[in-house]
């Protein structure tokens, strides 16, 4: 099957404040299949945010090609179709809500698409229901918690009926409760609505349930695979300054002490099992 997202040798350079040319993406080639849940990790300046913006045609590659559902992002005529296909949720929940009432904000996207009012109403109700915010339809955004605001932002994207949702560190500014709310919503959408998810984060725990984890460093993909494959490479991750989930770290240390524990432990329950088996 044709992958829904295809990047071929994507390079992206921008001019820094001092006029230097900086390569934010340095030859990224990547295929993402429809329905996949991909988590991209890497620390600040690794190019993960720049990559996310390429998926929504907010940025276009300096060289190389990005195809979203077969559409080349350099094609101006396809711009709005691409943005509708790949919705984007940003980090700061405050800075992406436009309207003063929740349901009006969710309606913003479909309104921009020029849909008839009854259709917009239907989609708004559906989207709010999917993220579990229907009770707050009439609320003002500034009375909501961070996690709730972020869910409204996701609903705003959902109402445009995208096939892909790109989340650019949506949990970075949230408290643990908000983080869990958002992650559950995202997982639900991936499993039950079949939406392809590209989730960017620096919380390793959020990567555990992904289909695929991609590690970025200096504008390149340095490691990718299932969470188990990626996180068992503790040394590689440490070298580029990234953490592994706490349980994996524990397994790594126990192993170093000579205990017979597999390195690909991701969850507490698995760890319990491994220890019991000793």
């Amino acid at each position: 099957m044709e992958p829904i997202i295809r990047l071929q040798d994507v390079q992206f350079e921008y001019l820094s404040f001092e006029g230097e040319e900086i390569a934010a993406l340095n030859g990224v080639t990547l295929d993402i299949q429809k329905g996949e849940f991909v988590v991209i990790i890497g620390h600040n300046g690794s190019g993960k945010s720049t990559l996310a913006k390429h998926l929504n045609a907010l940025l276009r590659p300096s060289s190389g090609v990005v195809w979203i559902k077969g559409m080349d992002t350099r094609d101006e005529d396809k711009l709005w179709e691409i943005r509708q296909t790949a919705g984007m949720v940003f980090q700061n929940p405050d800075n992406q809500l436009v309207a003063t009432i929740v349901e009006e904000d969710v309606a913003f996207g479909p309104e921009n698409l020029g849909l008839p009012p009854e259709e917009i109403r239907r989609r708004v109700n559906e989207a709010l229901k999917a993220v579990g915010m229907e009770e707050y339809a009439q609320a003002a955004p500034h009375y909501l918690s961070g996690g709730q605001k972020q869910r409204v932002a996701i609903a705003g994207i959902l109402a445009m009926k995208p096939e892909i949702i790109v989340l650019d560190e949506p949990t970075a500014m949230l408290d643990p409760v908000g983080r869990r709310e958002v992650m559950e919503t995202v997982k639900y959408l991936n499993r039950h609505e079949g939406i392809t998810v590209v989730h960017i984060t620096h919380y390793m725990e959020e990567a555990v349930d992904a289909d695929r984890v991609i590690v970025m460093e200096q504008g390149k993909i340095v490691l990718q695979g299932t969470p188990r494959q990626v996180f068992s490479q503790v040394e590689v991750l440490k070298e580029i300054g990234l953490d592994v989930p706490q349980v994996t770290e524990l397994a790594y240390r126990l192993k170093a002490e000579g205990l017979d524990i597999p390195l690909d432990v991701l969850k507490v329950e698995e760890m319990v099992e491994a220890i019991c088996r000793l």
Binding site: R83, F90, E104, G114
Partner: protein
């Protein structure tokens, strides 16, 4: 808390007046303002007073909210009254105090001007009290729609108002945060004279402005990624539709205008 600040002075409710189409309310308020200046008789003022009293009654907005709107203008209203009483030329002198004379014409003029100002304030505050900022913006956008022919940016204007309304609480919250952060480091916003206090606000405004610009940048990006491309081809979820009550309101107002014009200019 700063968060709870209300913008404008909307008094939420479910009354007939609240439910009127905002377009109708705006137009009627304008008609009301204009007609106030055409009234020349006490009977006319009686009619207008009855009209606005009925509207206030129907809106179920407590009287004190209406009166509150008049308070800041009390001084101007009183001043206008006296200026008109003393400086309107006239022949029917009622009595004299020193070099001033009270005339029948002056007194009439003074009372009329006072009534006009008071009615003006009551009429316009009734509009803002019964219409939420959002529907007000909506109404303005749709009323200005025809002006798009002459390239008037009706949609853009309404969008700016909406975003401003949306971000006022956010920025207030942020101001509060920055203020507390600076107070924790010894900043003093409360003592000193007016000039010193204004000066103390500069270190507050700089980070606030920077952050506002950053927010604007991010919001623009978020809007773009949600396919926003101006008012062209944009539809709306909520459509304003005039209902029976709007037609009744218009009819009543037209009757009032007709009666006032008849009373003041024909009879």
């Amino acid at each position: 808390m700063l968060k709870d600040i209300t913008i404008g002075q909307f008094f939420p409710g479910e009354s007939v007046i609240h439910k009127l189409d905002p377009r109708v309310k705006i137009v009627l308020t304008f008609a009301f303002i204009v007609i106030i200046f055409f009234v020349k008789t006490y009977v006319g003022y009686g009619l207008i007073f009855a009209y606005i009293a009925l509207a206030v009654r129907l809106s179920k907005v407590p009287m004190r909210y209406i009166v509150r709107g008049l308070k800041p203008l009390l001084f101007i209203i009183v001043l206008t009254f006296f200026i008109n009483v003393f400086f309107t030329p006239g022949n029917k002198v009622l009595f004299r105090v020193w070099a001033f004379k009270f005339t029948q014409e002056g007194l009439n003029q003074g009372i009329f001007m006072t009534l006009r100002l008071a009615l003006l304030v009551v009429g316009t505050s009734l509009l803002t009290l019964t219409t939420s900022p959002i529907s007000l913006t909506d109404g303005i956008e749709r009323l200005l729609q025809p002006l798009r022919v002459i390239k008037f940016p009706a949609h853009e204007l309404a969008m700016m108002m909406t975003i401003a309304l949306r971000f006022i609480p956010t920025l207030l919250e942020e101001t509060d945060k920055i203020m507390k952060a600076q107070m924790a480091r010894g900043a003093d916003f409360e003592s000193g004279n007016l000039f010193q206090r204004a000066k103390a606000l500069v270190p507050l405004l700089v980070p606030l402005f920077i952050s506002a610009f950053r927010r604007a940048d991010e919001l623009a990006m978020a809007m773009e990624s949600r396919c926003y491309r101006g008012g062209q081809n944009r539809t709306r979820m909520k459509i304003l539709k005039a209902t029976k009550r709007d037609y009744v309101a218009v009819a009543v107002t037209v009757l009032l205008i007709a009666a006032i014009l008849l009373d003041s200019y024909v009879l």
